[in-house]
Symmetry: C2
Subunit: 454 residues, 2 copies
C-alpha cells in the first residue's frame, strides 16, 4: 500500500500538476502541444517510467498531427499481464477569458483547489496515474504487472488520430485492461465507475448570404444567412421535448437491457443540487429522477455549441451579414454510426429545402459500453470502495471519448475512474482539481494496479 | 459657378477627406469622437465657415454625449433665407477587419477611389458641402443665402441625441430647407434625390441558460439558450415571404399614394446588377422589378444584424453556452411608431411562451417623407441634372436617419442628395468614395445653394 507515500508526496504531485497547467496546450488552436508532450515525458522519466514521444509518421516529420507520449514500466514479477492508462495532455480553449478569476493557465492553489484550464481535465487525472506508479516502484522496486501509458494530444478535438496511433503501435500498446482518462466524483465524494461513453458527431453548418456584408437596409431584397440558419435549425429539434426531428435519427438506438436499468436505478442523481449548480429552474422536457439518469446515460442530443453571425460587439451595427455559422455537437449512443447520422443530417437539410446550407464534418466518434460482467469491473469497484468508502457504478458517461477505438483495436475492457469532482467546471472558466480527490485517486489507482495484477 | 474652382481644388478636397478618415470615430465604441469633431471644426474654419463644437449640456462637462459641430456663414446679400446641411462625423465599426484590403482608416487613394471607413459615409459627403461653401465664398466674397451646418456624432448608433440638440439649439439651427447627409448615385452616375427615410427599431434579444458555460454532455438536461433564441426568432418572421409575423405589426402602414406609385414606376432598378453586386441568385420572396422597388421604399423588415452564442473560434469546443444574444434591426415605414412596435414585439414573445427572453431596446427612429410638391424638390432636381446630366427622384431611401426629428423640430423640408456610389460598400469592409462623384457633388451642392437662395 502506497498510501503513506502518496500523503507525503502531495506537494510534489501538485508541483508537477502546476508545471503541466502552466504549459497551455489547446488542441483546437494547435497551441503548445509538442511542448506539453515533452513535459509529460520528462515527468514520467522523473517518476521512473521510461517514456517516448511518438509521432504518427516514422520520422516525426509531419508536425501537423500532435505526438503521443508512450510510457512503460516492465514488471519483473509478473510480465504477462499489462494495464494501460489512457490520458490526454491537450485541453479545451480557455475562452471566455474574462470570466476567469485568475489567469486561465495559472495553476494557482487556493485551499483545497488547484485552478487552471486542464487542472482536472485531464492533467490532474494524468498526474494521479503517474504518481501511483512512481510510489509502487518506490515501495517495492517493481510494479505488480506491466504498466503502459498512452497520452494523446487531440482528445478535446475528437481524438482525430488516436485510432491511427493505436493501429500503428498496436503491439507496443497491447494490454489486458484500460483505465480511462477520467472519472467523476459526485458531491458525496463517491467515485463514479463508468463503463461506457457516448459518441459524438460534431459539425458546422454554414449559410451564405450576400458576397460581402451588406447594409441592412437591403434586407428587403437580400436573404439574411442568419435567418436561413434559424429556419434550418428549427426543423432539426423539437423545443419542448429536446427530441431530434431528423428522419431515422434514433433508428439504431437499442432500449436499455434489464441489467443496465438496474444499475441506472441504483445510481444517485441529486436533481436539486444539479439545478442549483447551474442556476436552473427546470430540466429539459421536465426530466426528473430516473428519467434524468436515463437521459444522461442514453439520450442522444443536438446541442448548439456556437452561433456566429454579423456584428456581435457593443452597441448597434445595421449590417446584413455575409455568413452565418453554427457549431453543433450531437451526442450518440451505442448503435449509432457517426457517418450514417451525418448522411441523415445532410439528407434532412436537402429535403427541407436547405441544400444551400453547407455541412462541414468536424469529427465523429462512436459510443461504446464495456460489459458489466467483465471481472475487471469488480476489481475497480473494490479498490474504489477501499479508498473512498463507497462507489457508484454507471452504465455510461454522458461524455464522449475514443473508447470505441480502444475496444476495437486493443480488444481490452475499458473502465473510467478518477479524481474529477462533478462540478469542477471542466470546459468552463475557473476549472479546478480538488487536492483531496487527487490524493484519494492516486491511492485508488495504486490499489487498482495491485488488484488487476493479482 | 464654382466648377473650375472645384476642379482646381480636388487635391485639397481629398487631403481634407483623408485627414477625417484617418481619425477613427466609431460611435458604437465611443472611439475618437471629440477628436473628430474638433477636426471638422478646424476644416470648416479653414474653409471660411465659422464653427463651434457644441455640447448638449451648457458647459460641455457631460462627455458621455458626443458633441455636435455647428458651422455658419451669414449672407450679406440675402440674410433672410437659410439652408442647413446635416451631416455626421461618426462612422460604423470597422469589423470584420480581416476583410479589409488596406488598414480600415487608411484613406488610401487608388485611381478613382478613396478607401477607408467613413470615406463615403459620411466624411466624403461632409467634405463636398464644406468645399462648395468655401468656393462660393472664394468666388464672390459672399454666400447667396445663410448657410448652416449641424454635424453630429451618433448617426451610426441611431442619432440618440440629435432631437435634443435640435430642440436646445432650435433658434441657432432655424432654417428654410435641409440638405440631408447623404445621397446615392446609381451605376449610371445618376444621383438619387430622395425625399424620405425609413424608421428603425433596434433591439437585442438575450436568452439565458445555465449560470455559466456548461459541458455539452449536459445538453440532455440543460436547456440551451441558443436553441431558445432560434425557437423565439422562428415565430417572428416568415422565411418564404420575409413578412413579419408579429401581431398587428403592419397595422399603421398606409398604402402608397398614386403620386408615390408613379415616382416608384419611373425609378430605375437594375435587378441583374444588384444581384451581381451581392452575388445573389434570387431576391427575398422572388421580388422583381416594381415589387423590388416598392419593397426598398416601403417594406418593413426584420433583420438579424448579429447572433452570438458559445464558442465561435476555430475547431471544436463541446460547450453548452450560458447566454445567446441576437441583435435585430426592424426597418419601419411612415405611420409606425418605434415604441408601439417594441411593445408589440414584447407582447408577441410573451404570448408565444418566451417571457424568459430578455428584450433590450437599443434605439428607435420614426420614418418620414417630404412632400413631392415642395418647391425645393424641383430646385434640387434642376441642380442635379445640370451637373450629372440626369437625376432620379425617390419617394424614400431604404435607409434610416433622424429626418423625422428635423421635420418635427425645424419644420423645414429635407432632401437627400449626394456623392455616394450605390455600391460604395458603406458599413462594410473596403468602403470607398469615388473621386469623380465627390467632384460632381461639390459642384451640384454649389448650384443647389444658388437655386435655393434665388
Amino acid at each position: 500500500m502506497i498510501d503513506s507515500l502518496v500523503d507525503a508526496g502531495m506537494n510534489d504531485l501538485i508541483s508537477d500538476l502546476q508545471t503541466l497547467i502552466r504549459q497551455p496546450s489547446v488542441s483546437a488552436k494547435k497551441v503548445g502541444l509538442t511542448e506539453c508532450a515533452n513535459l509529460v515525458a520528462e515527468i514520467m522519466q522523473k517518476a521512473g517510467i521510461s517514456s517516448e514521444v511518438l509521432h504518427l509518421d516514422n520520422n516525426g516529420i509531419d508536425k501537423s498531427v500532435p505526438p503521443i507520449v508512450y510510457g512503460e514500466v516492465r514488471s519483473k514479477s509478473n510480465p504477462n499481464k499489462t494495464l494501460l492508462f489512457y490520458n490526454h495532455y491537450d485541453v479545451q480553449p480557455e475562452e471566455p477569458i474574462e470570466l476567469w478569476e485568475n489567469e486561465p493557465f495559472s495553476g494557482i492553489v487556493k485551499d483545497n483547489q488547484v485552478f487552471g484550464r486542464g487542472s482536472a481535465d485531464d492533467k490532474g487525472e494524468l498526474i494521479t496515474r503517474i504518481k501511483a506508479v512512481q510510489y509502487l516502484l518506490k515501495e517495492t522496486g517493481d510494479v505488480p504487472c506491466n504498466i503502459k501509458f498512452i497520452v494523446e494530444g487531440e482528445e478535446e478535438i475528437g481524438s482525430l488520430h488516436v485510432e491511427q496511433y493505436l493501429k500503428k503501435y498496436e503491439q507496443k500498446l497491447a494490454s489486458d485492461g484500460v483505465i480511462w482518462e477520467f472519472g467523476y466524483v459526485d458531491a458525496k465524494d463517491r467515485p463514479i465507475i463508468s463503463l461506457g461513453m457516448k459518441g459524438l458527431l460534431y459539425v458546422e453548418l454554414i449559410a451564405t448570404g450576400p458576397s460581402r456584408d451588406a447594409h441592412s437596409m437591403f434586407a428587403v431584397l437580400i436573404e439574411n444567412p442568419a435567418w436561413r440558419l434559424v429556419s434550418a435549425l428549427k426543423t432539426m429539434r423539437d423545443q419542448k421535448t429536446g427530441k431530434i426531428t431528423i428522419k431515422d435519427w434514433y433508428k439504431e438506438v437499442k432500449p436499455f437491457t434489464k441489467e443496465e436499468l438496474e444499475i441506472i436505478s441504483r445510481e444517485p442523481f441529486d436533481e436539486r443540487e444539479f439545478k442549483n449548480e447551474y442556476g436552473l429552474k427546470r430540466l429539459v422536457a421536465g426530466a426528473k429522477g430516473k428519467n434524468a439518469k436515463k437521459a444522461l446515460v442514453g439520450m442522444p442530443t443536438c446541442n448548439i455549441a456556437g452561433f456566429d453571425s454579423g456584428y456581435i460587439g457593443e452597441g448597434a451595427k445595421t449590417v446584413l451579414p455575409a455568413k452565418a455559422r453554427v457549431k453543433i455537437d450531437f451526442r450518440l449512443v451505442p448503435g449509432m454510426v457517426p457517418e450514417k447520422q451525418l448522411a441523415r443530417l445532410k439528407k434532412h437539410l436537402k429535403q427541407h429545402g436547405f441544400s444551400d446550407v453547407e455541412v462541414n464534418f468536424i469529427h465523429g466518434e462512436a459510443a461504446v459500453r464495456t460489459s458489466i460482467s467483465e471481472p475487471f469491473v469488480k476489481k475497480v469497484e473494490e479498490a474504489a470502495r477501499e479508498v473512498f468508502g463507497s462507489s457508484i457504478l454507471s452504465v455510461s458517461s454522458a461524455g464522449t471519448g475514443p473508447m470505441y477505438s480502444f475496444v476495437k483495436v486493443l480488444k481490452a475492457p475499458c473502465i473510467s475512474v478518477g479524481s474529477t469532482y462533478m462540478f469542477a467546471r471542466i470546459h468552463s472558466p475557473n476549472e479546478f482539481a480538488r487536492v483531496d480527490l487527487l490524493n484519494k485517486c492516486t491511492k485508488c489507482i495504486g490499489r487498482i494496479i495491485e488488484k488487476f495484477a493479482a
